[in-house]
């Protein structure tokens, strides 16, 4: 029982991060039908930029959470600018190209960003200073650290804010209108170019936050951390129904929990043949199952109609 609860806690922490990243995929897909495979790398850049800012400040005597906040601000700003730049130079020229062209470009952007990060930060694993309170608390026999609680709370608040933005503001209305019908939205005076760029900017900002949270939780960051994280978050977005914001959140949390439970029990279930290092298998197993049995995801509908 305590293993179960423990893995639920771990899964929800991980899932909160997946959800934040999945939102970036799903927002861009929703508005322009593009799977932005470079998004995982934006998350990685966010983590490394934050680290670059936090490392020299860590010994300065400033309180840890303040240092993290400064690092987060830098990461969010850099990633937002990066998201806008990627949209402008890589995707906008291909707006009316066949769908395969931007998809391949996305993979190209992803490679460029990863190599760029390798040149700047090197190939090694960087350890992230422990700046957030991480005292463990015991709940029903399972431990949860303060960092974990913080991650869940921050992710939940951010997602609530995003939902308000999308559902309650003029800008959000313009985003949803553009997602449904760019031509009609334009007829109503919505500037589609601006809305699409904003979507990238917001998604990248969420990605930067996720990158900082990952680094804070695991204490490490490296230039290829974005690849697997991005792929899993993409899985989460598909699981929830790509293009659907609440779907990305639910998909992220669910995937995190599935992965954590899988990792916790796989040893027992296979008599010790497979260890918890097989945890990555679960995410992709879920992806395959979803694609076979419910390609539109848990909360998605009529995805195929939007071409």
């Amino acid at each position: 029982m305590d293993i179960f609860l423990q893995q639920i806690f771990n899964g929800l922490t991980l899932g909160s991060i997946y959800a934040l990243v999945a939102l970036g995929y799903t927002m861009v897909y929703g508005i322009m039908g593009l799977i932005n495979f470079a998004h995982g790398e934006v998350v990685m850049i966010g983590a490394l930029v934050a680290l670059a800012v936090m490392a020299p400040l860590a010994g300065s005597g400033l309180p840890g959470p303040l240092v993290v906040l400064i690092g987060l601000a830098a990461a969010v700003l850099v990633c937002m600018a990066l998201g806008a730049t990627i949209e402008r130079i890589a995707y906008r020229p291909l707006r009316n190209a066949p769908r395969l062209a931007p998809l391949i470009t996305a993979i190209g952007v992803s490679i460029v960003l990863q190599q760029l990060a390798m040149l700047i930060w090197g190939r090694r694993y960087h350890s992230v200073p422990r700046l957030l309170p991480d005292a463990p608390h015991e709940i029903f026999g399972a431990t949860i650290t303060e960092v974990q609680i913080l991650i869940m709370v921050v992710a939940a608040l951010t997602m609530a804010g995003l939902m308000l933005l999308v559902n309650r503001t003029k800008m959000g209305r313009a985003m949803r209108a553009t997602a449904e019908s760019p031509a009609i939205a334009a007829l109503m005076g919505v500037d589609a170019n601006r809305i699409i760029m904003l979507t990238f900017v917001i998604g990248s900002g969420l990605g930067a936050l996720a990158g900082v949270l990952v680094a804070a939780n695991y204490g490490i960051a490296h230039y290829h951390m974005g690849f697997l994280l991005g792929l899993k978050a993409f899985t989460a977005a598909v699981l929830g129904g790509i293009g659907n914001l609440p779907g990305a959140m639910v998909g992220g949390l669910l995937l995190g929990v599935i992965e954590a439970l899988g990792a916790g029990y796989i040893g027992d279930l296979t008599g010790g043949v497979l260890g918890s290092n097989y945890q990555d298998v679960f995410a992709f197993f879920v992806l395959i199952v979803v694609l076979i049995f419910r390609p539109s995801g848990l909360m998605g509908e009529k995805v195929a109609e939007r071409a």
Binding site: L165, T169, K170, M171, G172, R173, A174, R176, A177, E180, S181, A183, I184, A185, A186, L187, M188, G189, V190, D191, L198
Partner: protein
């Protein structure tokens, strides 16, 4: 009566097909102007050129004393032309109210910063948008459905919603593309009342319609297109008896 819109020599070609050939017409301020013609006559094409959805191949349009920049839907809307579509094109997954609120976009100006940080000016504008959208839903008679998703509305109500959304852009000219298509007699009668009300409130109306009876009963003047050319433009009583028009409608009588 002053002229609101003057189209001169509008042409449009799709590959080898000359969809519009040298079409000129004049819409006066405050009138209900009908555009009729057999299927494929080029009515909707003319509409699409006029509202900036298609680029034109020739001719020019003067609107409200200024040359209209065709080819950019956004600027056409800002200049004061709003339209509805033959096949209804609402934001299906947004509520009726939200659809109309999007229509206010062309006339409001709070940007991203305002939307995110909720400045008091942004809140005031948002409230004004909300209020105006509710008024318009009330005006077209679907206030009860404000919070229903557009795709859940009855067909006739969807048409009304599209009109409300078009009115939200504060048009000087409201262009309706077959608004009575698929409506029963009762709905059509209600639509007629609505369109008359819109004109009475100072908006000029351009109406494309298949329902000849509706056009003849509603419009002050009517133009007839046939094979991309204008073959008549006159008051309904005259158009009805124009031999060329009768010929265009396969010799059939216009007295349905």
């Amino acid at each position: 009566m002053t002229v609101l819109l003057e189209a001169r020599g509008i042409g449009k070609r799709f590959g080898g097909v000359q969809a519009l050939h040298d079409v000129s017409l004049t819409i006066r301020r405050g009138e209900i102007y009908g555009l009729i013609g057999p299927n494929g006559a080029g009515k909707t094409t003319f509409f699409n050129v006029l509202t900036g959805l298609y680029p034109r191949d020739g001719g020019e349009v003067m609107f409200d004393g200024e040359p209209l920049k065709l080819g950019s839907p956004h600027e056409v809307t800002r200049a004061g032309i709003a339209r509805t579509f033959q096949n209804i094109r609402l934001f299906a997954n947004m509520t009726a109210l939200e659809n109309v609120m999007v229509g206010r976009h062309a006339r409001t100006k709070v940007g991203v910063g305002g939307a995110v940080f909720r400045f008091s000016s942004a809140r005031a504008e948002e409230a004004a948008i909300h209020r105006r959208a509710e008024e318009l839903l009330h005006y077209v008679g679907i206030a009860d459905h404000a919070n229903d998703l557009a795709r859940h509305l009855a067909y006739g109500d969807q048409r009304r919603l599209e009109i409300a959304r078009a009115l939200a852009t504060e048009p000087k000219l409201l262009a309706l593309d077959e608004p009575a298509a698929g409506m029963n007699a009762t709905e059509t009668a209600a639509l007629k009342t609505l369109v008359e009300g819109i004109r009475a409130d100072g908006v000029t109306v351009l109406l494309i319609e298949h329902d000849v009876k509706l056009v003849m009963g509603l419009c002050d003047r009517v133009a007839v297109l046939d094979y991309g050319e204008k073959i008549a433009e006159d008051v309904p009583a005259q158009v009805r008896n124009n031999p060329q028009v009768i010929e265009a409608y396969l010799g059939g009588s216009l007295e349905h």
